[in-house]
């Protein structure tokens, strides 16, 4: 049931205005190319879910694609703030952004609950934290056997989950390895799943117990080499730490951010052309 197609087709067919969208990848395998395509296709009113909304969501938020953000840690890892995220939350630019804020443990459990077809997740969490005061979607329940109090959060059930993986085979079976994060849960929790991969191969050569997503839980697979950049793909290329640092400057200012996005994303046809432009500009606006 996995459709092997271009990234533009995959986003065009499976990711719609108003959708709840999870793009996952924990430092590793962040689906940056797919996010660019969402921006190019001018999707709007999205509810974006992600444990660590770093550069990928900073771009989507700054370009006005998001109405709502569900998250647990929003920063530029190892560098500092996400300026577009902060501008949206602090000043409402380019428009107001609703937020639903969790801890990592809660959001990871919410994905697990979604993948498990459950309406909510139970965890030992949030005790003593002010987060439940500001998030009505954190409640407390009691164990029916011991009476202990535990936290409950609604499960995450995206309309579409987008991930990047190392490989798919020609049927659309997907292999992820190394730091696998919460990607399997995000895919299993979603109605539809779009996967970009470094390469499509004849045989995954996967270990018996490797993290494999069978083709019939994947809606579309698109081959997009370097599609996680500036994130990394274990076995293919390393994290581009310089880009993360450079993003701090690019994104600090509304104007320079907008110009950068126009030049690099809106004015390019696809990820390959973006990569060419990026090589020419050296990431400068």
């Amino acid at each position: 049931m996995a459709k092997i197609c271009s990234l533009a087709e995959a986003i065009g067919e499976f990711l719609r205005d108003g959708d709840t969208v999870a793009m996952e990848g924990f430092t590793h395998l962040i689906p940056h190319a797919a996010a660019h395509e969402v921006i190019r296709q001018k999707r709007k009113d999205l509810t974006l879910v992600r444990m660590t909304p770093d550069l990928i969501y900073d771009q989507l938020i700054g370009m006005g694609c998001a109405r709502r953000l569900v998250f647990s840690w929003g920063g530029n890892p190892g560098v500092g703030s996400l300026h577009r995220f902060r501008d949206a939350v602090e000043k409402g630019w380019p428009h107001k952004l609703e937020i639903e804020e969790h801890s990592h443990a809660a959001l990871a459990n919410a994905y697990v609950a979604g993948a498990s077809g459950l309406p909510f997740a139970v965890l030992r969490g949030y005790t003593g934290s002010d987060l439940p005061k500001h998030n009505p979607r954190i409640k407390f329940i009691n164990c029916p056997f011991t009476g202990e109090q535990l936290a409950a959060v609604p499960s995450v059930r995206p309309d579409v989950t987008v991930i990047h993986a190392q490989k798919a085979d020609r049927k659309g079976n997907v292999l992820i390895w190394g730091i696998v994060g919460v990607q399997k849960e995000a895919v299993m929790a979603a109605k539809r799943a779009i996967v970009t991969v470094e390469e499509i191969v004849d045989d995954l050569e996967a270990d018996a117990n490797a993290c494999v997503l069978p083709y019939w839980v994947v809606s579309a697979v698109a081959e997009v080499p370097m599609g996680a950049h500036p994130s990394y793909a274990h076995g293919y290329y390393e994290r581009d730490n310089r880009f993360y640092t450079a993003w701090d400057d690019i994104s600090r200012d509304r104007d320079s951010f907008t110009k950068w996005m126009e030049r690099h994303v809106l004015a390019t046809r696809d990820w390959a052309e973006y990569r060419d432009v990026l090589a020419k500009t050296g990431g400068k606006v």
Binding site: S72, G75, S103, A106, R124, G128, S129, H134, R239, T245
Partner: protein
């Protein structure tokens, strides 16, 4: 004796707190530097766990982010992020949680969420990440933070992560099982909670640091232990290993310095 910076002193003092064989849940940044320094010096059997999934990580260089590939390469195994939080942290397998923070109060509660009101923030900080549950579930917590009046504050705008809450028995009463923060290591001193009140008390001053310097950098009327000690200054080995690690890291990440 070797020259060293206050930042080096902080990292070395924090590293020393980590016992050999300890299972440590490591936050990114300063905690990760200290934990790896411990592993490369007196605690070769320390087990480092990162929330992205690596268990028994042995990175050659420091990760810039919590999910760097180097964390996976030499790890004993790499599991999913939900499994880390469910089976390993919540399952009670962590001895020590090693955290940083943006702001801390006298009871070692942490704020990494907002400065100002939540709904109209002056500064929006990154948020909770793994901290609330690490601080709740790990056997004990070590906190490493550079000392500053804007960081060591009288009252937090927001409690992201519970330390000793309002002191005394309030942490236990809230149902938090782990010991909570047992030490805060800064670039000036080491603070530990008073056994009764759970208020942070300066127990160790780093060499050359005065009590007044600590007072100046603390947003509350900070107390000092009666038997105030001096932190042992970094050994040559500690400094050499730390500098080597930071140099390797800068080279590998192409982040200069």
């Amino acid at each position: 004796m070797a020259d060293y910076t206050t930042s080096e002193m902080m990292t070395v003092a924090a590293a020393r707190m980590l016992g050999n064989g300890t299972v440590c849940f490591v936050g990114i940044g300063l905690p990760s530097t200290a934990a790896n320094l411990a592993r490369l010096t007196h605690a070769p059997e320390a087990v480092l766990i990162y929330e992205s999934g690596p268990i028994g990580a042995k990175p050659e260089v420091l990760p810039l982010s919590i999910g760097d590939g180097d964390l996976a390469v030499n790890a004993d195994t790499v599991v999913s992020t939900p499994e880390i939080f469910r089976y390993w942290l919540q399952g009670g397998r962590i001895d020590v949680g090693f955290l940083g923070g943006a702001q801390i109060d006298r009871f070692a509660n942490l704020n990494t969420t907002v400065i100002g009101p939540y709904d109209a923030p002056k500064v929006r900080l990154p948020g909770a990440g793994g901290a609330p549950e690490i601080a709740a579930m790990a056997g004990e917590i070590l906190i490493i933070m550079s000392q500053d009046k804007r960081a060591f504050v009288d009252k937090l705008d927001f409690i992201t992560t519970a330390g000793h809450l309002t002191g005394g028995g309030s942490r236990q009463a809230a149902g938090l099982t782990g010991k909570g923060p047992t030490a805060v290591i800064t670039d000036l001193c080491i603070m530990r909670p008073d056994p009764e009140t759970r208020e942070l008390v300066v127990t160790d001053l780093h060499p050359g640091v005065t009590a007044d310097q600590v007072r100046e950098k603390t947003g509350w009327d900070v107390r000092f232990a009666n038997d105030l000690r001096e932190t042992g200054s970094p050994s040559e080995t500690e400094l050499m290993v730390l500098r080597d690690l930071l140099k390797r890291t800068a080279e590998a990440h192409g982040t200069g310095k």
